[in-house]
């Protein structure tokens, strides 16, 4: 059971947190964050930059007083968005860089904040309250680096990832996580390729539709109109019919274009975002498991040192060993809870994404089908 460090409770409702838009400010983006007061007496409106989000994340990381904090799977913060960035940088953001006006990115930030606010431990951090409610931007001063950071830095050079675990549960979890991290990343990337091609198709259809429209000359437009109104009988001259065919075909291609745009948009905003989040969450779990593994290594080192210690150093080494053991147990305890929570939220996350995706695509498919059958009827009746 985790000791509660009662820094405070959040005064806003987690599910109501919204990141409504991204405002361009020169080369930087500012995000508007809105949340509803728990008391029901109104809402908070704040403007935050990505640096502010990073500050928040750092705050969460450096909660030293919470034992076992290293066992927490921290909600992943999306990488910094860069305006006018080269293609390679945008590619790293994947789905989050797509969509109009950084809409996907805003949704990812929103999810991040909601996840933090819904976490029993993290939500109590004063920094979150500050972040969501203070009209002033949170202090940009560098946060004191907690043990978390020092530990990460110390362990950086060493290949601990493959270190064998003492606990079967954790070994299995690490193995599964490794596979899932790879698979979800790969699925996200493949899906991005699909969406990009759909967008290319929409553009190609647009060109085709325009070209068809240009085939009909100015003078013929009036002839086409007269013809389609039935006021010009179809004898001897087939040019108005041909022009009408071009115009109608142009409308068909336009419908195809709109279908691709819808399909791509649906893909982006539901499953795309879902897969992206899944992928980043798996990474977050991986980081947590790695931190625990590092603690394990620390413990094993301390035990060895205690065993081999000369009598004069023995007491000190023993003390270190006990401390390491205690910390490791705390982390493992928190980790177990976090893993259980993670499993159920990740299933729920994908479930919702898949349902929403399917419903949207079904709706689009039905709309498109209806439009196509209208075109078909129109064409069958042409020239009769």
């Amino acid at each position: 059971m985790m000791e509660e460090a009662r820094e405070g409770s959040l005064s806003v409702s987690a599910q109501t947190i919204r990141v409504t838009e991204a405002v361009r400010d020169g080369d930087a983006l500012t995000f508007i964050v809105i949340s509803q007061k728990l008391s029901g007496s109104g809402e908070y409106h704040v403007a935050r930059t990505h640096e502010d989000f990073q500050w928040l994340q750092q705050c969460l990381f450096s909660q030293e007083v919470v034992p076992g904090i290293l066992g927490v799977i921290f909600p992943p913060l999306p990488a910094k968005p860069q305006l006018n960035a080269p293609a390679k940088v945008l590619k790293q953001l994947g789905f989050l860089a797509m969509g109009e006006d950084w809409r996907m990115y805003c949704m990812a930030l929103e999810t991040y904040l909601q996840q933090v606010a819904a976490h029993t431990t993290l939500s109590k951090n004063k920094c979150l309250e500050n972040f969501l409610t203070s009209s002033e931007p949170p202090g940009r001063q560098r946060v004191r680096k907690g043990i978390f950071n020092r530990l990460s830095q110390a362990m950086e050079g060493m290949r601990k990832e493959g270190h064998k675990d003492v606990d079967d549960f954790f070994q299995t979890e690490r193995d599964n996580n490794l596979t899932l991290t790879g698979c979800s990343k790969s699925a996200t990337e493949r899906f991005i390729d699909v969406v990009l091609t759909e967008q290319k198709l929409a553009v190609a259809c647009g060109h085709f539709s325009t070209a068809l429209h240009l085939c009909v000359e100015q003078e013929e437009d009036s002839a086409v109109l007269a013809f389609s109104n039935g006021s010009v009988p179809m004898i001897k001259n087939y040019r108005p019919l041909h022009a009408l065919i071009c115009v109608k075909l142009s409308e068909v291609i336009d419908s195809i274009k709109r279908n691709f745009e819808s399909v791509a948009e649906n893909n982006l905003s539901t499953l795309g975002l879902g897969l992206d989040l899944e992928s980043r969450c798996q990474e977050a779990e991986k980081e947590m498991l790695y931190r625990r593994t590092c603690k394990l290594v620390e413990l094993e080192t301390a035990s060895r040192n205690a065993e081999r210690a000369k009598p004069v150093k023995k007491a000190a080494m023993d003390e270190l060993k006990v401390a390491a053991e205690k910390e490791f147990d705390h982390v493992s305890g928190v980790a177990k809870q976090e893993i259980a929570r993670f499993h159920s939220t990740h299933v729920e996350l994908l479930r919702q994404a898949l349902i929403l995706w399917c419903e949207k695509q079904l709706e689009t498919a039905r709309d498109t089908s209806f439009r196509y059958s209208q075109h078909l009827q129109a064409f069958k009746g042409l020239g009769e």
């Binding site: 698979c183 087939y238 040019r239 089908s369 196509y372 064409f379």
Partner: protein, 385 residues
């Protein structure tokens, strides 16, 4: 193919060309069935080589193009006929190439028999009925450079040798401009359609890649219901890959081929205009020659050389007859070209309409299939717990 109602006799002539058999060279089997009294039997099957089709065109073109008829052009020998861009990896033995050529030959033959004047041509009858055709010669120009290059060369050389025509009938001038403008438009559209087909094929490949990655994700997933849903999703995506592939083929066959056909047909239309110009040129040349002969006669009269005078008078009579004949030819060819162009425009409108309807039907079918897949998947997604 049912022939549409004409003012003339209604009759039936069904032609189809089946897949080729490789017997030394590709042979095409063409089962016909007809109610036309002119044919020996009601149904018959013959085998023809690709070069036989080219040979048929040569014969028809030699006979009818000079009279202003628009003779349907044969398919290009190489797959790269129209555009310089290859859509995906294709070689001459691929299934797609074989199917394209088969369909192109079928359309070619259908256009030939659909032409009321060409149908009467004994060469056409022979092509449809005769058991063994001798190998066609002189198809080098067609096999090599292809139909369009041949037409372009002819037009170019013609414009070099004729003087600017004094167009008395503005209809011809306007029509030729329309034809040339349309040629540009169709070429542009063809490039667009090729681009569309390419992207669709890419979408099909990417969908397949996504399907595989989802399958892997599903099999790594612990939660049973989620794992199941993901493998169902992988199956749906696999089916969609198939749909995209089919739709790309439809784009290609309905549109790209249609546009390619009409770009070639416009070449034939231009050729008929060229012929009309040739007959005009011949008439002008004859008039000039007549003038010269008259001048010769005048000179002889003045120079008082009675022995050569008779020859001169004979010449004049000869050339007067030619002038009359050539003027009649010109009028006749002009009338034919005019009639042919109208017939061509009508056929074009019908053709386009028919193909677009076919295309829309395939789009609709695809879409309805997609709806079924989504409807089947939704309960799977909802079943995740």
């Amino acid at each position: 193919m049912q022939l549409e109602e004409e003012v003339e006799d209604k009759f039936e002539l069904n032609i189809s060309i089946t897949n080729p058999e490789k017997v030394g060279e590709f042979h095409y089997i063409s089962p016909f069935s007809t109610t036309l009294p002119m044919f020996r039997s009601k149904t018959f099957t013959v085998r023809r080589r690709f070069s036989d089709f080219l040979g048929l065109y040569e014969k028809l073109s030699d006979k009818h193009t000079p009279n202003g008829y628009i003779v349907p052009p044969p398919p290009e020998k190489s797959i790269m006929g129209m555009t310089k861009v290859k859509v995906g990896k294709e070689d001459n033995s691929s299934a797609e190439f074989v199917e394209r050529r088969r369909a192109a030959l079928e359309r070619y033959l259908q256009r030939v028999v659909f032409h009321p004047s060409l149908l009467q041509d004994p060469d056409v009858r022979e092509f449809l009925e005769r058991d063994d055709m001798p190998r066609a010669h002189n198809t080098q120009a067609l096999s090599g450079a292809g139909f369009l290059k041949m037409i372009n060369r002819a037009t170019d050389s013609l414009s070099k040798m004729t003087i600017k025509m004094n167009e008395s009938d503005v209809w011809f001038e306007e029509k030729l401009q329309e034809v040339e403008a349309e040629d540009q438009q169709l070429r542009k559209l063809h490039i667009m359609v090729d681009s569309l087909v390419g992207h669709r094929k890419e979408l099909s490949v990417n969908t397949g890649g996504f399907a595989k990655s989802v399958a892997m994700l599903g099999s790594s997933e612990d939660n049973t219901a989620l794992s199941r849903a993901l493998s169902q999703l992988a199956e749906v995506e696999d089916k969609m890959e198939q749909l995209h592939q089919e739709q790309a083929a439809s784009d290609s066959f309905c549109f790209a081929e249609l546009l390619a056909d009409y770009i070639r047909l416009l070449g034939s239309v231009r050729a008929s205009f060229d012929q009309r110009m040739k007959t005009w040129q011949r008439w002008q040349d004859a008039q000039n020659m007549l003038q010269k002969k008259r001048e010769t006669e005048a000179k002889l009269l003045w120079a008082n050389k009675p022995d050569k005078l008779q020859q001169a008078k004979d010449d004049i009579t000869e050339w007067e007859a030619k002038v009359t004949q050539y003027e009649r030819d010109f009028d006749r060819v002009s009338a034919t070209v005019r009639k042919e162009v109208l017939r061509f425009e009508k056929e074009k409108a019908c053709d386009f309409k028919k193909q677009i309807i076919k295309y829309l039907e395939s789009l609709l079918q695809s879409q309805q299939q997609l709806i079924k897949y989504w409807e089947a998947f939704l309960p799977e997604a909802k079943a995740i717990a």
